[in-house]
Amino acid sequence: MPVRHIHVILDNERASLLRAWGSTQAEEGLIRKDLFSEREARSQIEMLYDALTKGVSASIESDALDPEADCWDDLRAALAEVTRERTKRGVSTGEMAAFVLALKYPLFERLGATVDDTNGGVLIEAINQFTRLIDAVSLYTTELCISERDKTIKRQQDEMMELASPVVELWDRIIAVPLVGTLDSMRAQEVMENTLSAIVDKKADIVIIDITGVVTVDTQVAQHLIRTAAAVRLMGGEAIISGISPRIAQTMVQLGVDTGEIRTRSSLRMALADAFRTLETDVVIRTAK
């Protein structure tokens, strides 16, 4: 009985419920006009509503709204789509959950108005069933939001990894590896691999590793740099470490890090000039008169 009541209301009051659902959201500031158009929001709400109605209609026979049942597959799919669309535009997890929960109260109001008061047991049962369903759906939405976000974080991590260790060709036989941020073991490995394969690709003789953008050089970072320079030398190239600021020079001395035979320069500019000298390349700058 209770599920039939819910279905009757969902079916008969579709237009008014959709309006009410939409307006609770507008009241609570959930419809982010800056993020999506009204028309888009309405079609999303309709899609979810129809999928929900379908699931409820399939549950009339068993007279129970079991959130685990297969009849909610359409609703899950619709939710996944809406969630993806919304998180992409920066709607927060809380907003998404509140969006789903906002359907409860307009429906309860109509249930109260339709179901006979002498039939209080049915009313409570209907509210119980529907609350359980919507809560489960809202929880599912939260999970979807989080998994969407996790995917974004993973993608950004991968992108950052690639972005953070580019190898650029400065001149014939001269390549530069500008390092920015923190140099942990994983990135150091990546930098080493990129550098060594670039030596082959670009036929480079000199590799300038620029650490201007590296925040801290501790023994581990120093060790990574020394290893990379040693690997470059094994391949017949020469490494110059540039961008050693006064403070980094001081800390490295205090740490007792020995850079040995690795050439170091204070700036990329000095390193480049040095590289030109080594390769006996003359660069003439003509100023137009």
Partner: protein, 105 residues
Amino acid sequence: MDALEAKVIRKTRLVTAVSEIFRNGLIYGGGAVVIIHCDEDDRMVWIDCRDTGPGIVDMELALSDGYTSGGGLGRGLGGAKRLSDEFEIVSEPGVGTQVRLAGRA
């Protein structure tokens, strides 16, 4: 250090020392509990790093340059000591290691 408006070089020294000590705590100590305290009157930042790892048997050897039981450069502990303004290390084999260091702003 930012709150104390420390000079960049002072900040770099402390950050580097702390980086060495934290990594030791993580790699050799199997994770460490860290307490950071900022003493605004003395303009000092104190760091207390405590682990329950295997501990250090020969402290003199561990602090000497070039010695490492792992694969590092063997400069971390001695370097951290030189970079800090206050440095104290207590270790008991089988119990754990505690490092207390401070940097003046």
